[in-house]
């Protein structure tokens, strides 16, 4: 209520968060270390670990695997998720609300449970350890986000614009192409970025479904860290953080961060 207590609380918050977020700030200097081992602050500075990263076949190969997987998953998630969201937003069929709840359910299911469930199912379907199996597993993780963002976007379309286009002589297909789709574009972008990031980062479910056979970037990083800890890892972190930030900025531009993350 009173100004001073507010500033007090503000200070507490700043301190608290500097502490919690310090790890990320420490990674950047570490990645430019010229040392052969981890030490903070580094004794010398260089770009050697970035160079080492580029020439590390395991990591660059795993990076390509992850990008390919995330791209396929994102394309499929957009297709399924947007169709579903459109049907949910425009439909008036029975059980619409139940379906929407079902759609958002995987968002709350712990990934260990999803992993277990998929492991058990896929073992009977013969999908275990296959590429389609991994794609399907990632799809279960990513599609709910697409559905959620697109449902929100459809619900917050300016009221009446589609009806207005229809009364002005636009057939349903034309309405979708000329009015609905352009207005949904930011949400489509946000969905795609988020979907890509989630798939790219996924570890737990992948491990359940394929074991360590499909070496995605997170798995390879795991393997690397398991054997040694050097500034190369800091360089990997910085590259990933930069990529993620670029994605976040894209989402922010497209729909606003808070709407995408929720809240």
């Amino acid at each position: 209520m009173v100004g001073t207590s507010r500033y007090g609380a503000g200070a507490v918050v700043v301190a608290l968060y500097l502490f919690l977020l310090a790890p990320i700030a420490i990674v950047l200097p570490l990645s430019f270390s010229g040392d052969s081992y981890l030490s903070f602050p580094p004794a010398s500075w260089s770009l050697r670990w970035y160079v080492a990263l580029l020439s590390h076949d395991g990591l660059t190969g795993a990076f390509k695997v992850s990008v390919a997987l995330a791209s396929v998953v994102t394309a499929l998630a957009l297709l399924c998720g947007t169709t579903a969201a459109y049907a949910l937003a425009r439909g008036t069929f029975r059980g619409r609300d139940a379906l929407l709840a079902l759609f958002t359910a995987p968002l709350l299911l712990p990934s260990v449970i999803l992993g277990l469930a998929l492991l058990l199912t896929f073992s009977s379907w013969g999908l275990l350890g296959t590429y389609p199996g991994v794609v399907l597993a990632h799809l279960v993780l990513c599609t709910p986000y697409v559905v959620r963002i697109m449902t929100t976007a459809l619900a917050t379309l300016p009221p009446g614009v589609e009806d207005a286009a229809a009364t002005l002589g636009a057939a349903p297909g034309v309405v979708f192409r000329r009015v609905t789709l352009p207005l949904l574009l930011p949400a489509v972008t946000a969905s795609a970025v988020l979907s890509f990031l989630i798939s790219f980062d996924e570890v737990v479910v992948s491990l359940f479904v394929t074991g360590p056979r499909l070496v995605t970037l997170p798995v390879e990083i795991f393997n690397y860290v398991d054997t040694r800890t050097d500034p190369l890892i800091a360089a990997v972190s910085v590259v990933l953080v930069a990529g993620t930030l670029a994605g976040v900025v894209l989402i922010e531009r497209a729909v606003g961060l808070r709407r995408a993350v929720g809240g």
Binding site: P159, D163, A166, T167, L168
Partner: protein, 353 residues
């Protein structure tokens, strides 16, 4: 510029699941005239409008324009202009592209399109704003663009869905006059939906009062206001005193123990409700001499509203709400004054209880 078309609804009915939104509405709108559909929210007036536009498929009934049955046509094949309460402009298109959208859909060549868009924008006094985005315009300007967009296609029928209710009072007054002028100039058959009785009475040639999915009364504004067919209509179109009374004979009632003449129009003898508008009650010197009903009472509340003075008068068991025009030389009364209140017998309208 536009052809004046006749719009006819016959038994139009719309069910949403078990709910009956519109219940057998029949209407005729004469070519070039403006019909106001007036009613409280949920009365079905907007559903009727959307049914005419084809945005809501009807459960039963027919809609014809100039004798042609359009009931089964999709909205994009109806040639009907619709202006929405929330403007519904395309936010990703410029003002010119918004207005030109309907022409583009009709395959009008770019050059003619430009001319007609410019004409339409001039008509709504927005020349020069072609390149703006809708979000750069004020609410009033956005609604003008929406009007231009609906009119530029020269629709057979113009539908207005509470087009003024998102605007502030001053702008509403202004746009009200402007819409009516444009409508009269183009002689375009128009249906205007509103919940604001002043708007409907002021703008329309004919007013239909809706209630619970049905048309309760339809007629010229003065008829709706002066000769409402029910207490609901009377209350909805203006302020009203309502007192219990007893009809003792056709044209005679007993009110607060006294017999007096009143307009009973077919109400059977027995308990009934007598109603009169506050401004038809005349206080003291303001009342002309003559064979008027009258009661004597005491002023209990006075409110000065600029061009109007509102009184509450207690007369026996009756509570009277009286409104007097705050004319320049009118006498004003104070709380506690004993006043005589008169009225013309046929201003006292009686409805069944």
């Amino acid at each position: 510029m536009t052809r004046s078309a006749a719009l006819t609804l016959r038994g139009v009915t719309k069910h949403f699941g078990a709910a009956v939104a519109v219940d057998g509405v029949s209407l005729d709108v004469a070519p070039g005239s403006m019909l106001g559909l007036l009613g409280p929210s949920g009365c079905g007036k907007t559903t009727v409008l959307r049914a005419i536009a084809g945005l809501v498929p009807v459960t039963a009934g027919t809609i014809t324009v100039d004798g042609e049955d359009i009931t089964a046509r999709p909205p994009h094949g109806r040639d009907i202009g619709l202006v929405f309460q929330q403007y519904a402009l395309f936010p990703h298109l410029s003002v010119a592209a918004n207005v030109g959208f309907g022409l583009e859909m009709r395959g009008v060549a770019a050059a003619e399109r430009r001319t007609r868009v410019a004409e339409a924008l001039a008509m709504v006094q927005l020349s020069g704003l072609d390149g703006r985005r809708p979000r750069e315009l004020s609410g009033g300007q956005q609604q003008r663009v929406a009007l231009a967009r609906a009119l530029v296609i020269r629709p057979r029928i113009l539908l207005l869905d509470e087009p003024l209710s998102n605007l502030d009072a001053r702008l509403r007054d202004e746009l009200r006059v402007e819409i009516r002028r444009i409508q009269q100039r183009l002689r375009i058959t128009t249906v205007f939906v509103t919940h604001d009785q002043a708007e409907a009475l002021a703008m329309c040639d004919v007013v239909g009062v809706m209630s619970q999915g049905r048309v309760a009364q339809i007629g010229p504004p003065a008829e709706i206001y002066e000769r409402p067919v029910s207490r609901m209509v009377a209350e909805f179109v203006g302020r009203l005193n309502t007192w219990p009374c007893e009809v003792v004979a056709p044209g005679r009632i007993r009110l607060d123990g006294r017999e007096m003449p009143a307009a009973t129009d077919g109400v059977a003898n027995g308990a009934a409700l007598a109603t009169i508008r506050p401004h038809r009650l005349l206080l003291g010197g303001a009342a002309p001499a003559g064979a008027l009903n009258h009661v004597t009472g005491q002023v209990t509340h006075v409110a000065y509203v600029g061009d109007l003075v509102q009184y509450h008068v207690a007369a026996g068991a009756l509570q009277l709400r009286v409104e007097a025009h705050a004319a320049r030389h009118a006498e004003t009364h104070r709380v506690g004054d004993v006043v005589e209140c008169r009225w013309w017998p046929d201003d006292l309208r009686v409805f069944g209880a």
